[in-house]
């Protein structure tokens, strides 16, 4: 692509990450386009929801006739397989490839190939440490900061100025885990309170998180607040099982977590839920099409953080009390015309498939 001056098209949807964000422009071409989604691992709810969202969005009337061929593959946690799949789609003459990278590094070759063949490559969610491709993500650092700020505010409101705060980390070595943790700790350290931060590794997995939180409670006694990156259902479960009093908890956007916040916020579970949305895939697809049409696009597209605090939860709107715990509530992004809600994707028995 060519590096051009902004502003880009449709800034409410394709918001540039920061003021320094570059803008890209590809030569516009006629649709419909061939688009592929190259996923890595499949086998957790988030990824399943993402794949379903991608499929549903490809059939959405808003873009359906812009797509001539749409394919989704999951390559597992296997860098060469993912690189291979991307290269294969380039070889097959696909116009755009949307991907969740298995690693923030290592895509030099496919980036080069995509460039040579004028293919639009759009990493999202786990983005690459490069500014050579157009990417779509939520701001993980900000997410970490918001969690910590919310927690500190709630503690301040309760008049708590010291104590142990439990940080539940995600998958070791992952850049999302790194960024979120940096954000969290930055804010906590900057505060005046006298906090002892205990950190455990929950792998973003409900079961592991529950176990390590239960462990931490057994060893450390009470915490004044918990900041968890994921596996939030596990945090709640561990608190309940240990009979730990409700405290402010920051966490992800699982339906179960939001249900718990809604139910117990009066008793002290002052919660904030910010999610990395599986719906990001739709924005990435939309961005790819927009780029193919020749629009000016930001290199790094920032998708607004879907925040919901205990004060903002509303049954049937941003959580569903009658639905299962472990789908991700935030899925739609109205400014982008992405209106595929979590329950619509994850809770209707499919008859047509």
């Amino acid at each position: 692509p060519e590096i051009v001056d902004g502003p880009g098209v449709d800034p409410t949807c394709f918001a540039p990450w920061s003021e320094d964000t570059k803008f890209f422009q590809w030569e516009g071409r006629e649709g419909p386009f061939k688009i592929a989604v190259v996923n890595g691992f499949v086998g957790n709810t988030w990824r399943i929801q993402m794949v379903k969202t991608a499929k549903a969005f490809a059939e959405d009337p808003a873009i359906a006739d812009k797509i001539s061929e749409f394919r989704v593959v999951s390559t597992g946690t296997d860098a060469p397989a993912q690189l291979g799949a991307i290269e294969d789609f380039i070889n097959q003459g696909f116009d755009a490839i949307v991907t969740i990278a298995v690693s923030p590094e290592g895509f030099d070759r496919v980036i080069r190939l995509a460039d040579r063949n004028d293919v639009v490559l759009v990493p999202f969610d786990n983005v690459l440490d490069t500014d050579a491709v157009m990417q779509v993500n939520e701001d993980q650092l900000t997410m970490g900061r918001m969690w910590a700020e919310f927690t500190l505010n709630e503690l301040a409101a309760k008049g708590v100025t010291s104590g142990k705060i439990l940080e539940v980390r995600g998958l070791p070595g992952n850049s999302v885990d790194r960024d979120r943790s940096i954000g969290i700790n930055e804010v906590l350290e900057a505060s005046d309170g006298d906090w002892e931060i205990v950190s455990v590794v929950g792998n973003w997995d409900d079961g592991t998180t529950q176990k390590v939180v239960a462990d931490a409670i057994a060893v450390h006694g009470e915490f004044v607040a918990i900041v968890g990156q994921g596996g939030s259902n596990g945090v709640i479960q561990a608190l309940m099982d240990a009979g730990h009093p409700w405290v402010p908890v920051a966490g992800e956007s699982e339906n179960g977590f939001r249900k718990a916040i809604a139910e117990y916020s009066d008793e002290g579970l002052k919660g904030i839920s910010i999610g990395q949305s599986p719906g990001l895939v739709a924005i990435a697809m939309k961005a790819a099409i927009s780029a193919l049409e020749g629009n000016v696009m930001p290199q790094l597209i920032s998708v607004p953080l879907p925040v919901a605090t205990y004060e903002e939860l509303e049954d049937g709107l941003n959580y569903w009390s009658d639905l299962p715990d472990n789908f991700f509530t935030v899925n739609e992004f109205p400014p982008c015309g992405v209106n595929i809600s979590g329950p619509a994707i994850m809770s209707q028995s499919e008859t047509d498939n």
Partner: protein, 351 residues
Amino acid sequence: MIERFKYSLRQNRGFYGALLGLIVLYLLYNSLHPRGFSTAVLIQNANEAVVLAFVAVAQTIPVLIGGLDLSVGAVMTLASCIASVLVTGSPAEMTLGIILSVLAGTMFGLLNGLVVVYGRIQPIIATLATGAIAIGLALFVRPQPGGDIDGDLNWAITNAVFDFAETYGFADDGNAAWLQPIAWIPVPLIILTAVMLLVWVPYRRSVTGRTAYAIGSAEGAAYMSGLPIARAKIMAFTLAGFFAGCAGLYLAIQTSSGNADVVQAGEYTLKSIAAVVIGGTSLLGGVGTAVGSIFGAFIIRIIEFFFRINIGSFSIDPLLQTLFQGVVLLVAVSLGSLRLTRIKNRLDVFR
């Protein structure tokens, strides 16, 4: 010669079955691919398969002695993390880095061998444990994914001979007439073949290599026959480490980086076992060859290729791909049991 082939055919059914399967699947894939039978497709396929092929070769040797090496994926990861730190700078520094990363894998393999032989611990469980250690070390070397491996190296190694020559400016930037017959061959395939010729073939035809087969077939007999058991076992794991090191090195160059990914390490270990079995090597030891495992690795990859191409109404729902892969794996490994139908003496089942 013909007679020898006849015996070889009878004694290595699994191997020839894998070869046949590979040929059929690959021809089918290429004929369905919009750009089938082109260099670009071959390069892509080779790049995708070569790391797994190396890991499968690594796995083969411990399997031949009747063991399993559950650390190959982890050693690969360790080597790739080391390479991501060392393979950078001047050509001399890069060369040294390349040597050191493969050496690291080899030394780790040696450690495995020593633990198995002198610690008298079953290979499968010893390497389960040392695999954790290797991952720990990899995380230590590279707590976050990253690294800056030379971009030219990455480009040259992951392309055809022509691009290699072009990148490094020899043979008339790849246009020399003498280069043309081989200009289309993917570099990864050349590397794989070269390593096999230089390491596996001599090993196979050495007493140490033969001892590995003998151990897997009948360890007591091998010992009684005065074969160097301890040396052969240590060598088997050392070579496994070496090949895993090669895998790691290639992975690092291919991705220009290192990533101490526990899950990926585990996935490679398991896939290596599958590749070895599909390639006709018996998990009981004594029977099989590393070349078969390479075929096995390619077969595993090719099956995934089919998800990407348009096969009309046979297209598989993305959420059913995993299921399909599992079923194909089960069917592939169950094909071996066709031999059971020929068995007339039920005791032969236990061999």
